[in-house]
Symmetry: C2
DNA sequence: CACCTTTATGCTCATTATGAGTATATATAG
DNA sequence: CTATATATACTCATAATGAGCATAAAGGTG
């Protein structure tokens, strides 16, 4: 098809804007959330240190696809052979690589980010795309075992420093309060959903590699806080993580990540993997049963460990019933 | 600096896509939510029946504005002299006017919708833009007095008919269940947040004028269900209403719509206006006080009516405190 | 086999949160 | 003064939540 359609007749000059579609494709394997990434190294590298990954990314062609979401599903399907089940639009990023491009007059890119959930790790067609644990990019987000070391060892002191470096006293306080709100310092609470707020704080405090890269400056922290991604993809991933963590609680989206039958422990571990926190087992069971989210199949799972558990399935009827609930996991237990 | 982005090298051609920015600007006056609309009649009309309104809409020029949001704030400011406080991105619509334009090969428009909240009705510069009550477009969404007549009189029978018209029995059931979930028929509950679901249902059931207009067919209902808007603007407004109703409950956004001091009744009426339902007064007070959302100023309001009320102000500190709460208004009272 | 480990499941209990009122205070209109 | 509003303070029954205890049912081990 012709790609040079002339639209100038309309009066508006298209400023060479290109619509890109970004997908954050999530699956949970081995109690760990994974995200689909693509090797974006400029040259094939042997050394892993030079490898940099980004999210799958494709153009939106309005000639071919009627809607943005159809376009997304199509090219993700083509490139990875994945059949995306649940797809949700996240955010449209217009300021991508603002300074990253310097004064370049390349085509401006508006990228529409999507969150997609898929069960298990199907085999991937494209050898370029691989599953990575998402905590590789956000090591401070996993509180399942304990408060992540990187927080006490690197993040807290660095943010303390950043606050102290503020020009005036009022700003010092403000900065520190913001750090406390994000990371729960000073007996504050950890709020699992604030993934984006935390990333943006670290970015502003110049603690992530992307900041330095975007303006050609040296990185502040060594070792860097989590692995960088191309462009603003880590920010998009943060948006996706936050959205998913939040959505879990009021919509039954976990089940998009589960096989058709599962034990309650399996379900709980999936939720915990995403939220990055541990939950109280008995109360979790009480909750999902009371909400009518699952029903037993009668079959008993054959597993290792202790007493065999019953297998459950998702009661998809809840979707048509009242205000569809989610796994409203309140505060944690231990 | 080498950009990490590989897009330009990929040989993508911009397909002449134009980015439009849509703003749903909301304010609450006289216990009624209002939205800023613009007269989009093709020709100046004397007859009000021919007038059709749409949301304020402007192009995004990446040359001038660094981010989408800055672009939005700028042209809204220019056109209406309004200073938008709170601004939140809603959704990016890519399938705008799919069939509306027929097989025209006009430039494709991607529109990014924004929700903006502003206090009171400032005077508007542009005479084209006016404030309309938002229930003018969604008369079935206002349950403050009672279940809206239009539901029992027009919507329920029409949806019943639509369900019965389904080709096979399974679909009949499905359609009716969907109608019940949306509108709470058959002793289901009314969920104020499902504004978009309801609009889309009415659209699919061919009950709103936009459906007919989009495919050049006669409208099914007479009188029409609520007033139509240009393009897909009523859908964007529905998205905004749903988002605002939902956000109210977990973020203190109401205060963006309030003057600096207010009585608790005023606050409650604002919340009720947006949610379209009534709340229990004593419990509302208990809630906002317990959450620490407001603090008394000591001043007493001089008003008509009964006993004078204390004036309160928003405790903006809560924003920096723990997981910022909202007006978690649960079910209604009466 | 007795016994320990491990996970599953059932049940209790104290606290809070929520929904719905009752009761009292303090204005204004007649 | 009385009726009528609205404001504000409390009460109370129920439901939801956070934390545990207790028991069941598997496998492994000396």
């Amino acid at each position: 098809m012709s790609d040079q359609t002339d639209h100038s007749a309309k009066g508006w000059r298209p400023h060479g804007v290109v619509i890109g579609l970004n997908a954050v494709v999530v699956s949970v394997q081995d109690e760990t959330p994974h995200v689909l990434v693509v090797d974006r190294s400029r040259t094939p590298t042997v050394d892993d240190a030079d490898t940099i990954y980004g999210l799958p990314f494709g153009p939106f062609d309005p000639e071919t696809h009627r809607t943005l979401e159809i376009g997304l599903r199509t090219w993700v399907g083509e490139q990875t052979s994945l059949d995306l089940g649940y797809v949700e639009q996240l955010y449209t990023f217009g300021d991508r690589g603002r300074d990253a491009f310097g004064a370049s007059d390349e085509a401006h890119i508006i990228s529409v980010g999507y969150l997609a959930l898929t069960e298990q790790a199907s085999k991937l067609h494209n050898p370029d795309s691989v599953w990575h644990k998402w905590y590789r990019y956000f090591p401070w987000e996993d509180w399942r075992e304990q408060s992540p070391n990187i927080i006490a060892e690197a993040i807290q002191p660095a943010l303390r420093q950043w606050a102290d470096d503020a020009p005036d006293p009022g700003q010092k306080t403000q900065r520190w309060e913001r750090a406390c709100m994000c990371f729960g310092f000073d007996q504050g609470e950890w709020d699992a959903e604030k993934v984006l707020e935390r990333y943006e704080l670290l970015y502003e405090a110049r603690l992530v590699a992307e900041f330095a890269r975007d303006r050609n400056q040296p990185v502040t922290t060594d070792p860097p806080l989590g692995e960088a991604m191309t462009s603003d993809h880590r920010r998009i991933l943060a948006t996706a993580m936050g959205r998913l963590r939040s959505k879990l609680k009021y919509r039954p989206v976990v089940f998009e990540l589960m096989p058709s039958t599962f034990t309650l422990l399996h379900l709980q571990q999936t939720v915990e993997a995403i939220l990055g926190i541990r939950l109280h087992k008995q109360n979790f069971r009480r909750l999902v049963e009371k909400e009518g989210l699952v029903e037993g199949t009668g079959k008993i799972s054959t597993r290792t460990g202790g007493r065999p558990a019953e297998e459950f399935r998702f009661r998809s009827e809840v979707l048509t019933e009242r205000p569809a609930p989610g796994v409203r996991v309140r505060t944690i237990a231990r």
